[in-house]
Amino acid sequence: MSKGYTGKFLDIDLTKEKIDEITIPETTLYQYFGGRGLAVKVLWDRLGKIWSKVDPLGPDNIFTLLTGPLTAIHPGARICVSGKSPLSNGTIGSTASSEFPVELKCSGYDGIFVTGKASKPVYLLITDNKAEIRDASHIWGKLGEDTIRILNAEVRKELTKRKPNVGLWRQPAMLYIGPAGENMIRTAAVMTKIAHAAGYGGYGAVMGSKNLKAVVAKGRGSLPDVAASKAMEIMLHEIHKRLISMDRMRRWGTGYAGWSFGAVTSSEPVRNWQEEWHDERSMSGVRYRTRFWVKPYWADFNCTRSCMKISCIKSGRWKGDITDMPDYELEAYCGTNLGIFDPEDNIHISALIDNQGMSGINGPNTMGFAAELYQRSILTKEDLGFELKWGDAESFTKLAWLIVNREKIGDVLAEGTYRAALKISEMKGIDVMPYAIHVKGVEIGAHGTRSNLDYAKDIAYAASVQGGDHTSTARDGYSGMVSVFMDSAVVCMFCVVQDLIWDFAKVVTGWDITMNKWCMEHGRRIVTLQRAQLLLGGPDVFWDPDKDDDNPPRFYEPLPTGPYKGRTTDKKVVEQKKREYYNTLGWDDRGIPKKETLESLDLKALERVMKRLRR
């Protein structure tokens, strides 16, 4: 058996209540690794022939939960959530830090494929070499923190009953959805550990469409064998030493970035990206640390980076709100992008969104979009039922509930920014697409391209197969493939030490994969397959490479304020770099994979459909 893997996957059909154990050939594991890569491959094998007809929120879609060979063994355990995305209609690999993948692997499984739709709310319980479907009616509708509390107690009690004499049972680990996922909000996330989310892609809605409230795991086995255990141990120690030496990240996490990206690089979204600059000193690690962090060093399994911190509001109107830092993305999206510059309000909105189970980037992006429409009097008090002013945390709280409960205009906004923009343009007879900040349906992460000083530049989102995802951006072709590796080996990007990761992969799997080989072959294969799925799209929207492989119009407007006032993304550069990017990967000028590329990547089966897309 391949090293680093348990060798078994669960294939669960919720309609038929059927649970099978399956294996995946070693050649497939070698080519695609796990996580994002394997999800893309399995989705193509099973749904490729009917791709454009598969409704992401219908029973045919496959919801995948996959680990990778490095998961839990390498510092920073993560789980990769995927399926056909209700936002992009392609496939997105979305990952979250959690103990869940550790428990899953210790239960004896590398991953889970879920199809069908349960007749009533259910949750999956995975224990040693066993899976079962259990009733979840009593937790349907519950917020994140209540779901954790109830399931932790219930499952622990059940496992203690089954094996009372082995000593104290620990709590299980779980992935779950909040009301946002249950109500199939397209920006719903798969949640874990109260504030961790697999946000991009809208897979919380996919879980909701299957009536699947949670997946809970508790395994008592060991992690799988590795190819060279002594070498692994030595390398593990070395990686930890390097992580521990990175002091700034350990102290602040990404929490300091609310100042540095806002005031310094001028690339933080402010009021739905109308600006990308602010100089509010509150939005930095200092105030969060001193007033709100109750746990200044918090980590997930096998992580000494501890970039996570826990915030808690202990007084005032938002008393009792608990969330993580919030990290930079939520500082921006639940803060500055809504015109909120007060850490307390920022933590409140973040905690609320986490609890509801919305993606903290994608959901609030739509909220910012709505607020700009209100500013422009396109949406009115009648549409919302209240006034929606920038910076007013109270009304944004109301708006979040409107979306999650699909009430009034919330029902339209629940479809995500792009689909909401289509609908509102039609409703109001005004083109509101210039205010929708997305690429191919995926709301853009909080790193602007206009100042050209952040890591995300020109084609970062426009050419990416994951749309607006800021964790896997397009650059010059091959360099972006390292992100694909981290999503497929399923490790945390913040725990990866670049010069050690490839050797670590080798000592775990025994496969001789160098960075060059991964980028030129494995990564390119995964991204090419993802590109094909994105281009096929459907059933509700389809992407036109000539029109949609582009930034939102706002990214071409000059920055109105700040030290880089006047700067903007150069459209000519985008066009040129996009072509270079496509050509590097062996795609034609419009980004359709060429025949010879498909042949060289063992993707010949794609040729039939790609041929139709070429001119």
């Binding site: 954790i148 932790n152 104290l168 086995g221 109750v294 746990k295 096998n302 992580c303």
Partner: protein
């Protein structure tokens, strides 16, 4: 004066004698400092099992709610209720460290040591089904090393005399977590477990 000095000397001698015989080395834990990285479990299982095996680690971090991380391991009680409870003499006390040593061959998996432990610390190995208790790695505990390396210092290895209430640290981790919840989250903490 003479009598007093003799007495002092004597008591000093006695004290040293007692402390030599009855002092325990133990691992002090600071729940608030634990980050939940569980590298201690990885280090422990790598040493004792030769692989990463969280549920076979002698130290286990209980996390009943995110943020509440409770290291749970033997506190080296002065009176060793687990050793006393064992009907087949599978448990003994290490003469150097004072740690409880489990003799695998003798253990009958009866679970008496688990029941008698005030903190329900011992548990049965997921595969061999034999009792598992921290052996302090012969005096150089791996869990403490990795915790110190990361500068968390949630675990520290100390040598202390009898009567330092070590036993009070042998307590149900869920009780500790409930207190910890209020410490961290205030009133809200009353409702998270």
């Amino acid at each position: 004066m003479f009598v007093l000095s003799i007495y002092l000397k004597f008591s000093l001698l006695k004290f040293e004698l007692v402390s030599y015989v009855l002092s325990n080395n133990w691992i002090v834990r600071d729940y608030i400092r634990c980050t939940g990285c569980r590298r201690c479990e990885i280090a422990c299982s790598l040493r004792h099992e030769g692989c990463i095996w969280p549920e076979a680690s002698r130290i286990r971090i209980f996390m009943p709610f995110p943020g509440l991380e409770v290291p749970h391991l033997c506190a080296q009680c002065d009176d060793y209720p687990c050793v006393k409870s064992c009907a087949v003499e599978a448990l003994s006390i290490d003469s150097q460290t004072g740690a409880v040593i489990v003799e695998q061959d003798k253990c009958t998996s009866c679970g008496l040591c688990i029941k008698k432990c005030p903190g329900t610390v011992p548990f049965l190995h997921p595969e061999t089904n034999k009792a598992i208790i921290c052996d302090l790695c012969g005096g150089e505990p791996e869990c403490v090393k990795v915790c110190a390396e990361a500068m968390y210092n949630a675990l520290r290895y100390v040598k202390e005399n009898v009567g330092v209430q070590k036993k009070l640290h042998s307590i149900d981790p869920y009780i500790i977590a409930k207190d910890l919840a209020v410490n961290l989250f205030g009133e809200k903490g009353e409702r998270v477990i």
